[in-house]
Symmetry: C2
Subunit: 188 residues, 2 copies
């Protein structure tokens, strides 16, 4: 998940951890927030796996006698890392239906095959529809037994799930027709 997002961001250009975190939370963080506490351990694991390399500046001449000597580190993809990203892009893992995973995978849709896009969108729709049915059932089952606020909360939740289904339907229709999405409403 985090690894997939990092691979995708570094695919464009090498980056420092700081920049990486900013983009994670602005571009991909619609559904998810990431902190340094998970970023740096993940970068270390990815380096150990050989996906990325750390481009540290020369640790040569160092007039500072202090023990804490830190330089800026530019992380970039290795050949294996690019390969790994392509593999992840192509596979339709169940994670791609979950809230977090879907957002990340969707953000890289422009680099994916049309068939993969369609399968992920349809899987996501099935996933969301299942949740919708669960909410609907809960709402009609517990109606009259719950107070207005709880009902309103459930109704709002059902509403937003409903909207996502419609959004997915539009995207799927575009995908089947072969036309790109989001040409319609230009600005709100």
């Amino acid at each position: 998940m985090l690894q997939f997002a990092i691979l995708g961001l570094l695919h464009d250009a090498p980056m420092h951890g700081y920049e990486l975190r900013k983009r994670l939370n602005s571009q991909l963080g619609m559904f998810r927030a990431f902190s340094y506490g998970s970023l740096y351990p993940t970068l270390r694991r990815m380096r150990e796996a050989g996906w990325i390399s750390e481009d540290a500046p020369d640790p040569a001449a160092d007039p500072k006698p202090l023990a804490s000597r830190r330089g800026k580190i530019a992380y970039k993809l290795t050949a294996e890392g690019k390969e790994r990203f392509q593999t992840l892009l192509a596979e339709v893992h169940p994670d791609a239906y979950e809230d977090e995973g879907f957002g990340v995978h969707f953000a890289f849709f422009a680099q994916t095959d049309a068939s993969v896009r369609l399968r992920i969108l349809e899987g996501r729709r099935r996933h969301v529809e299942e949740r919708r049915e669960g909410l609907r059932a809960a709402l009609s089952r517990t109606r009259e037994r719950l107070d207005n606020y709880t009902l309103e909360l459930q109704r709002h939740g059902l509403d937003s799930v409903d909207r996502e289904v419609r959004w997915l339907n539009e995207l799927i229709a575009h995908e089947r027709a072969g036309t790109p999405p989001s040409v319609t409403h230009p600005e709100q």
Copy 2:
């Protein structure tokens, strides 16, 4: 957060852990999912804090020689637990603006003072509006630089944030007018 939710659910009636988890994910889990791995440790901490008691059936006659002997445990609130719930209901902690915290607190709005309801709704609105401005800025800043899919994702995110603001506006208006919410649209 989890503790608050458990206190609220046990306030109605004693419950087993299994039932507790089901309700956490159906009634309160609109924004959040809970697993046993957090439920049981939390229940243990709450018992140690004196807020709940575990009503275990007699561990007396036990013909099974096996080491693993487990009985059903009914968790229920103590007097301190009820007191603790009232305290949490009345305080407007910053957590009440976050996604997870807001959903839980909102679910117990029927048991809260009108002034607390209003302050939480307004704090939530401010919080969501800030996120909306961030998304708007990101969208207009990166337009033209991103592909259609990423733009569509950001637009969808902005859209749902926008809808929540409108929802909160309605609720706040009802709150100020003294009328209960959700009387309007009866069914979708």
